[in-house]
Assembly symmetry: C2
Homo-oligomer: 359 residues x 2
């Protein structure tokens, strides 16, 4: 599997994980689950042995932190975006650079800030996906839905493909947007899968699909890819990067390719979560009445939920159920678990007040 280059988009603010996740130290740079490894490092660990090479695409502001956290990452494979231009540009940049280096390479995108429970099942799914990608398809890994989530897009699987080395691969009939609750219930019953943004394809295929659906974006990315390992990199980046269309790869490539019968799905049964909010964070922790993270102290009486402590500080929690307390050196969040989505509204208010000290 040495021809797989894993592309790790390391971005995303983790807004609903404030006050843990901040602009300067977003979710993927944090040891959110208390394992001693950050989400980025866990992603790296998981890809070790699965991919021959790992390429991280991140914002210029976080390139240094990524380099520190991943001492094994070849700095040639640390791609710093001059500015955020959404996932088609981020993954397309990596595909173009990888393709310029090795036209036969298979690339696979795996976000830096997700949690996966079973690394060996993950590796097996990626192996199948690579086998299917070699047939010229765009392949996604479709997560087995375990609840009627409204926060994810879904994949409607079609017929088995019968690809050698990928017995579980199916055609993809359709990608669908985040549903409402009733629709999500129906999707769950009908065997739809969660779209976790894991796309595997030959770099050449991904660029050809982009050529067809987003020709300007594809041309820009190809130009940057060709210049990347040359003295012209910065000049071409300066000229081209700001002109690239901001669009999600799902919308730009995956959806039209599925409609054209070009997409396959390999089921992912390995336990996945995007750790999008504190409810999600608690769900990936060991199942306890009261989950505790962080380097501070907790004293509790008759309480349940999730508490994140901060070194040198004490949290005392009395008589509250299903509560989320996140204590940090400059801010403390106290929320009902039912309201953790509204953490975003707090961050929006801080942003509106230009409170960069807290963002």
């Amino acid at each position: 599997m040495t021809d797989l280059t894993a592309v790790v988009p390391a971005g995303g603010a983790g807004t609903r994980l404030w006050p843990l996740s901040r602009r300067a130290e977003p979710k993927f740079l944090l040891d959110l689950t208390g394992t001693g490894r950050t989400l980025l490092q866990q992603t790296w660990d998981r890809l070790d042995g699965v991919a021959g090479r790992v390429c991280v695409v991140t914002g210029a502001a976080h390139a240094g932190a990524v380099a520190r956290q991943l001492p094994g990452l070849d700095l040639d494979d640390l791609l710093a975006e001059p500015s955020p231009r959404d996932s088609a540009a981020a993954i397309g940049l990596a595909a173009a650079v990888v393709h310029a280096r090795n036209p036969q390479a298979v690339v696979g995108s795996f976000a830096a800030d997700h949690v996966i429970a079973d690394a060996s099942l993950f590796a097996a799914a990626v192996e199948e996906a690579v086998a299917v990608a070699r047939t010229g398809r765009l392949v996604t890994i479709g997560i087995t839905a375990t609840r009627p989530a409204t926060g994810f897009g879904y994949i409607r699987p079609g017929d088995p493909l019968g690809v050698v080395g990928a017995p579980s691969a199916l055609a993809v009939d359709e990608f669908v947007e985040k549903p409402d609750a009733a629709t999500a219930e129906r999707y769950l019953k009908q065997g739809y899968r969660w779209n976790a943004g894991m796309f595997v394809a030959r770099a050449a295929v991904l660029l050809e699909l982009l050529d067809g659906y987003r020709p300007q974006l594809a041309a820009g990315l190809r130009a940057i890819g060709a210049a990347w390992d040359t003295p012209q990199r910065q000049q071409v980046l300066d000229e081209v990067w700001p002109t690239l269309e901001k669009v999600a790869i799902d919308y730009a490539v995956a959806e039209p390719a599925a409609a054209a019968g070009r997409v396959a799905v390999v089921p992912g049964e390995f336990g996945w979560d995007d750790v999008g909010d504190f409810g999600s964070l608690q769900s990936v922790l060991p199942d306890e009445r009261l989950s505790v993270l962080g380097g501070g102290e907790l004293l509790s009486v008759d309480a349940s939920g999730l508490v994140v402590t901060s070194p040198g500080r004490v949290v005392a929690l009395l008589g509250l159920q299903d509560v989320v307390v996140v204590d940090t050196p400059d801010a403390v969040l106290v929320a009902a678990r039912s309201h953790v989505q509204q953490v975003k509204s707090i961050v929006d208010r801080l942003a509106a007040a230009d409170r960069t000290d807290l963002l």
Copy 2:
């Protein structure tokens, strides 16, 4: 009213107000109600004009802080106890010192850590109490009970006394201990009053009552009082203070004196609270769904209760009702209002672990 010397016992840990109230900075030294004045200072302000002289009895550890907070306090009237020996010794010490200075003086004890809503009604009640005290009685101010509180002792009033200048004064039939809930309901219906520890008497009368009920304690206090303004103060204190019985003034004097028909009560209608816990604290603040104190910031969505913020820190509160959040530089308390009494159990655990850094 210049012959009234107000005695302000400034003690008490305020344990159930942790993490605001600490050993080094207990409740009476805090601006708990957000007025800009500490409870001790509010007590001082309230007594200004009511008493000719104010005498503060406090632990040696807090004498300096009391002196700083009350620049108007004559240092001769700042009585530092070598060690805590309960309220009979504290108030008796002041009575003995005041009596040695002026045998005609009337003393009145008013705790440093209570809240009173209406200072002029308070002044009027004290004026009546002093008038009754001049007749040789021990006088208490009995707070009108407004709910079936189980945290206070009660006073059973008797017949009107008909003292000139004190039209509302009644005899006291009995002091009763903190009741259970059903008994408290009965007390409320039967017009019992709360015992707020406000005792007014001629210093000579208080000492004579002590002579009768607690002769050893009285003799010790008289010896200290006689030596106080002499070079022998420290020597006598060193010898006598450690031998004084630790007993509450209610038990040592008020209860037996009431049984002997020596106690009067003046009703207090001025709005009183001992601010014993965070529920009590919220009740003395302006009536709002969400009460906010402190010098930090609060961002809230769909929340009610009490929040105390800390300068330089932010509290974000989402979707919790009747909650108490108290944020301090080294600890944050998050409690259901129904559980605020159990703050004591947190403090007990810290004490058991010898966490003096947090106590």
